[in-house]
């Protein structure tokens, strides 16, 4: 928190080093979230590009009410939701995606893990977008329900309900496949 407050302060003083530092610090988080939401790496890279350039253009006037991390991640989520919905790959395209590069050279024992990964990815993409988004923001990026609610201007009860319905649906999909 201190580092981020210091970085924002330096940014407002006009330090381009601070801007580069923020990008270096958060680009992996932003990209991981964009990929998780869109299932499209190339599109996710564009989202991160657009979000960060937009941030750079208004950061001097920024008055953060949440953490810098939360601000950048919710920017990614908002942009994916507003622009990318029609570009998000459907569940049927899941098999085309190279899901886990790190497993490609594993011995046959790891092939089970690949299968599990595909099952879970497929299950997630069977959820309605709103439910999947909240599950990803909460479990993938660690954002609190309050932060998610404020970023989307929705009540926290709605967010929590969507999350609960999503988890329950995942449970029934995954238990049905076992």
């Amino acid at each position: 928190m201190f580092k981020d407050k210091w970085l924002i302060w330096k940014l407002k003083q006009g330090s381009s080093d601070a801007l580069c530092h923020i990008y270096k610090k958060y680009k992996a988080n932003m990209l991981a979230l964009a990929i998780a939401l869109s299932n499209d790496k190339s599109f996710a890279e564009d989202i991160v590009h657009d979000c960060f350039v937009s941030f750079a253009g208004c950061c001097c006037k920024l008055e953060l009410k949440t953490s810098l991390r939360s601000y950048l991640l919710t920017s990614v989520a908002n942009r994916v939701r507003n622009i990318g919905r029609d570009r998000i790959k459907s569940a049927i395209d899941i098999d085309e995606i190279d899901i886990a590069d790190s497993y490609s050279n594993q011995p046959p024992k790891q092939a089970m893990d690949n299968e599990r990964v595909r099952e879970i990815n497929s299950a997630l993409h069977q959820l309605p977008f709103e439910q999947r988004e909240i599950i990803i923001l909460h479990l993938h990026s660690g954002l609190k329900f309050k932060e998610i609610a404020e970023s989307q201007n929705i009540s926290i009860n709605t967010i929590q309900s969507r999350y609960r319905y999503g988890i329950n649906k995942l449970r029934s999909i995954l238990d049905g496949e076992v």
Binding site: L19, C20, A56, C59, N121, H140, L174
Partner: protein
């Protein structure tokens, strides 16, 4: 059927496997940076045209000029990042001397605070999961120079009455030293906050000389008054996976935030945040400070219960060598065997006190040893931790780590905590 918690855990594991493949290609990185910098520069230019610079605004007011000069000379001399403008050094020095003089007339300070800690444990003990315990501190300097101070949390009091130092661990365990110790003794790190004259300067000097600290000094206008804000980032003394990590203040990565009045340099507020798992947890906060208010004499006196038990350094025993040669595991075994047999004479060979409290006897007496594990050490502690599992007379099972150390004149192992 899996529970919701298991599904959440499964999904989190899934996300962890995905995160490893999230890498931006180098060309894309360069594109993002270049375009972001261009947008940033464009915005800066537009902002500079429409607003006077902050520096020009500051220099219009004689009051803030005072504050800024005082702060800059500290920052500049200690190499701490702040405004990159120059200021006449002689002028700033004079201002700083005047500010220090304003603090030197303090005769008393009274602070109330709260901390996430066990009420009767070590003053430095931290428990991130626990609710806050209240803390209160007083310090008074008499006209003849006698300094008295007291810090207290619900289960523990530390009192220096000017001639001796007394620590009472309620209800009836005491440590008495016949000389007055300075603030900070017995791990009472927050009593140093009462040393207001030196607080700002000492913290800045420490930040400069210690590579495990980063400091940011700035000033803000809060409700129409100029404040000096000092934020100091501390690195933990122990590694991430150390047993003591986040169990004591100095064994945690934490941020201290001080707010001083820019003119008087008096501390007005203070917080500590521990960094854990991308969260910043407030663990300590001063809730009220009063300066130069009368403090009753009774604050620097302590009524002790009649059945006091006093701390005593281990003495050399006739068969001292037998106990010196014990390993940490053997010591733990022997200690719990003494409890099991209710052999309190043997018990005192591992316990630094004049007697055994009746409450402790009924708690530990007649216990059954289930297991004693492999001893381990922490970078933040000079002794050993020994895992144990015991069954008490009331049937309850306790599984903890016994802390033992032998850095005493008799070089014998004694229990230092973990009961």
């Amino acid at each position: 059927m899996r529970t919701a918690e298991k599904i959440e855990k499964l999904i989190k594991q899934f996300f962890e496997t995905q995160k490893t493949s999230a890498v931006m290609p180098i060309e894309k990185d360069e594109q993002v940076i270049n375009e972001a910098l261009a947008a940033f520069e464009k915005h800066k230019t537009q902002s500079a045209i429409s607003q006077p610079s902050v520096w020009r605004i500051i220099m219009k007011s004689s009051i803030t000029k005072f504050a800024v000069a005082a702060v800059i000379i500290i920052a500049a001399s200690l190499g701490i990042t702040f405004l990159n403008k120059s200021t006449p050094v002689a002028y700033a020095n004079q201002i700083l001397e005047e500010a220090i003089k304003a603090v030197s007339d303090l005769t008393s300070v009274h602070m109330k605070a709260r901390m996430r800690t066990l009420p009767n444990d070590n003053f430095g003990h931290l428990d991130l999961e626990r609710d806050f315990a209240s803390i209160e501190m007083w310090k008074r300097t008499e006209p003849n120079g006698l300094v008295q101070w007291r810090v207290e949390k619900p289960g523990r009091v530390l009192l220096v009455d000017g001639t001796s130092t007394l620590m009472l661990i309620r209800p009836n365990y005491g440590v008495l030293e016949k000389t007055p110790y300075p603030p900070g003794c017995f791990d009472s790190w927050f009593s140093l906050l009462m040393d207001v004259r030196k607080l700002l300067d000492d913290e800045l000097k420490n930040a400069k000389s210690n590579i495990d600290r980063e400091a940011l000094l700035r000033h803000e206008n809060v409700n129409g008054s100029d404040k000096t804000i000092l934020e100091v980032e501390h690195k933990a003394n122990v590694p991430e996976n150390d047993y003591l990590r986040n169990k004591f203040i100095f064994d945690s990565d934490h941020l201290k935030v001080y707010q001083f009045d820019s003119e008087t340099k008096l501390l007005e507020s203070f917080q500590i945040y521990v960094h854990k798992d991308s969260k910043d947890i407030l663990v300590f906060e001063i809730t009220n400070i009063e300066y130069n208010q009368p403090i009753l004499d009774s604050v620097f006196k302590l009524d002790l219960p009649e059945n006091m038990i006093w701390h005593e350094e281990p003495k050399v025993l006739p068969d001292n060598e037998k106990y010196q040669k014990m390993s940490p595991k053997e010591t733990t075994q022997a200690f719990f065997e003494a409890c099991s047999k209710e052999d309190w004479v043997e018990f005192l060979k591992f316990w630094s006190s004049t007697a055994v409290d009746e409450g402790l006897k009924s708690y530990l007496g007649g216990l059954e040893i289930i297991s004693i594990g492999k001893p381990f050490q922490s970078k933040g502690y000079g002794g050993w931790f020994v895992p144990y599992e015991i069954k008490l007379k009331d049937g309850s099972i306790k599984k903890r780590n016994l802390a033992i150390r032998n850095d005493n004149p008799a070089k014998r192992w004694v229990v230092d905590g973990g009961i």
